[in-house]
Symmetry: C3
Subunit: 137 residues, 3 copies
């Protein structure tokens, strides 16, 4: 069994932003030398997410608007009594989920034709990390 | 370590439909000869999902209505400027999540009494695939 | 490869309640003697969830209110024709998701500074189980 771990750091210009991870993940997978196994891609913060969907800018705009509708910013969240103002970012992170598992077959991410991996930042403009861990053989 | 991969193809009659996967997964697990490990069940499309819940038809109807309420079809999504009309299916896929990991213990899916796995189609009436990958020993 | 499985049982006093799992999971991980791998933490019931977020009581209150808004109790769900009254708990479970994978590096849960694991009970006041399975070496 082989395990390989790398960490990615993102510092987005906007508070909410989607970052396409697939090319970086392909590089990590190659370095892992795993042919058969699982690749975990997981945000290390509780105001960010990782998801799989289409690399289409209109859809990305739809996703961010939809998340704002279901988990609005600017509400009087109890979490804000701690001095924070990012209650919505925690809820958006829960909706999107903070991690995905990518199947690895014959040394490649075993995805359908349109599947791509994205990091979803909901409280950015500072360093945030993602762990990528490949396990297999 | 052992890895075993199979692909399932679904072609639903309706655009939105739930398909019960558990019996198929039990067959795949038996063929994998894995006793201890994880089974990943993951949609290979970005307008479908995989989830674990109860095999009860009333609940399934509730789930489809609820997803339509939270991620409605018929809205003027930006994604539709590409010529597509399935923006809602992408959002429903994100809500449901596109994959689950099933624990495997003593050669069986280690589930509670009511847990079953479902494929959730949100833009069907054509061939769509699901990957099932078992890893363990 | 090493696999280690334990089961946790919860019996919450309230119907809806969040339970902090991280200290229990650290104990299980130590007993597993796995240094590099994945830890699956998965509810064995379809009216409960497992998620990663902040251990902050105001936020926990926000999360429970938000879930009630997006998946309300007291509606006339079709599932209730079976005699059940917990349709909302099934939908809340789907929103939160029933499982997480924790990366394990150098024998520790490889989390960011604020990440903690919680069991989310949506239909409690009776025994409910969570499976924890660690796989790696």
């Amino acid at each position: 069994m082989r395990a390989h771990t790398e960490y990615l750091t993102f510092h987005t210009k906007k508070r909410r932003e989607l970052v396409h991870l697939t090319p970086m993940l392909e590089g990590i997978l190659a370095r892992s030398r795993v042919d058969e196994g699982f690749m975990l891609v997981s945000a290390m913060h509780i105001t960010a997410g990782v998801f799989v969907n289409d690399d289409e800018s209109g859809l990305h705009s739809d996703i961010l608007k939809w998340l704002e509708k279901l988990a609005p910013s600017g509400l009087d969240y109890e979490h804000h009594r701690t001095g924070e103002d990012n209650g919505d970012a925690h809820l958006k992170s829960m909706l999107v989920h903070h991690e995905v598992i990518v199947p690895v077959t014959a040394g490649r991410m075993d995805f359908g034709p349109w599947q791509r991996v994205f990091y979803a930042e909901f409280d950015g403009q500072r360093d945030k990390r993602v762990i990528v861990k490949v396990m297999g053989e």
